[in-house]
Amino acid sequence: MNLELIIFIVLALTGAISAVGMITRPNPVISALFLIFNFFALAGLYLLLNAQFISIVQIIVYAGAIMVLFLFVIMLLRTGEEPKLFSEKKHIKYFAIVIAVLVFVQLGYLIFYEAPSEYISQRVQQSMEAGTIENIGQQLYTTYMIPFEAAGFLLLAATIGALVLAKKNFE
């Protein structure tokens, strides 16, 4: 057992346990804290896959900004007064189980039958180089230049839209 495998097992266990913890806790604040754990574990896993940039993004955007937003939303709502979703609509639970099983089967197929191991070993070096921030920058500012500028307009529209919905003063 090498170090990488140990780290992987630790991170994967943290991720899985915190994910289960997140959906089973009745208190939304505790759920949100479990989610942060999950995000960090995922960031570690990305790092193991040589995706350094994605890992940083995971921490900056998800564990940082999105978690703050989640917590504010939880604070904004009085969650105790909300009726419980599953007690009102029982069939949603079965629907969720079906979806989860489908995704799980698919992932299992990908891992065990698609024989990705040869694939991956060929591409380890390539992926190590592709994951660096410089390489992503080079891609982003040449091939993906147009989508990048489009992202600017997307963020502008999102800013204006958010402010219209949240703060617009009505006469």
Partner: protein, 144 residues
């Protein structure tokens, strides 16, 4: 052999161990005598009433939302900062146009006053009115 990330890992492990060990040792050596009073919420000697869960104002949410949008912007500018010099003036312009569009969003917020922290303006109590009211309510002492 440690890579650069290996060093970071050692650092993280040491940081986590530091916290865990400190808490664990403190637990071992501190006295533990819980009483019912110690578990109540500290409210300056008052008995706490109701839930501490109050509704937050929507402006916190707006700030968080704007923070999220600019966080994404930071993430997209990270790679630009590292590589723009490889592409000369062109690479510079690509990032600057992106920044200008985002800056426009920022200016829009600023101009529209969405960055102001709207305080609910408390009305100062009108002394004259209160006096008048109190005058009416105080029974006039009638001398015998």
């Amino acid at each position: 052999m440690l890579t650069e990330f290996g060093k970071v890992l050692v650092f993280i492990i040491l940081a986590a161990a530091f916290v865990v060990i400190a808490l664990f040792v403190a637990r071992l050596i501190r006295p533990a005598r819980p009483t019912k009073e110690k578990f109540t919420i500290y409210e300056c000697g008052e008995n706490p009433e109701g839930t501490p869960w109050v509704k937050f104002n929507i402006r916190f949410y707006v700030v968080a939302l704007i923070f999220l949008i600019f966080d994404v912007e930071i993430v997209l500018l990270f790679p630009w900062a590292l590589t723009y010099q490889d592409y000369g003036i062109y690479g510079f312009l690509v990032g600057i146009i992106f920044l200008l569009i985002l800056g426009l969003g920022m200016a829009y917020e600023w101009r529209k006053g969405d960055l102001e922290w709207e305080k609910p303006s408390p009305k100062p109590p009108n002394l004259a009115k209160i006096l008048e009211k109190s005058k009416r309510n105080i029974p006039v002492e009638v001398p015998d």
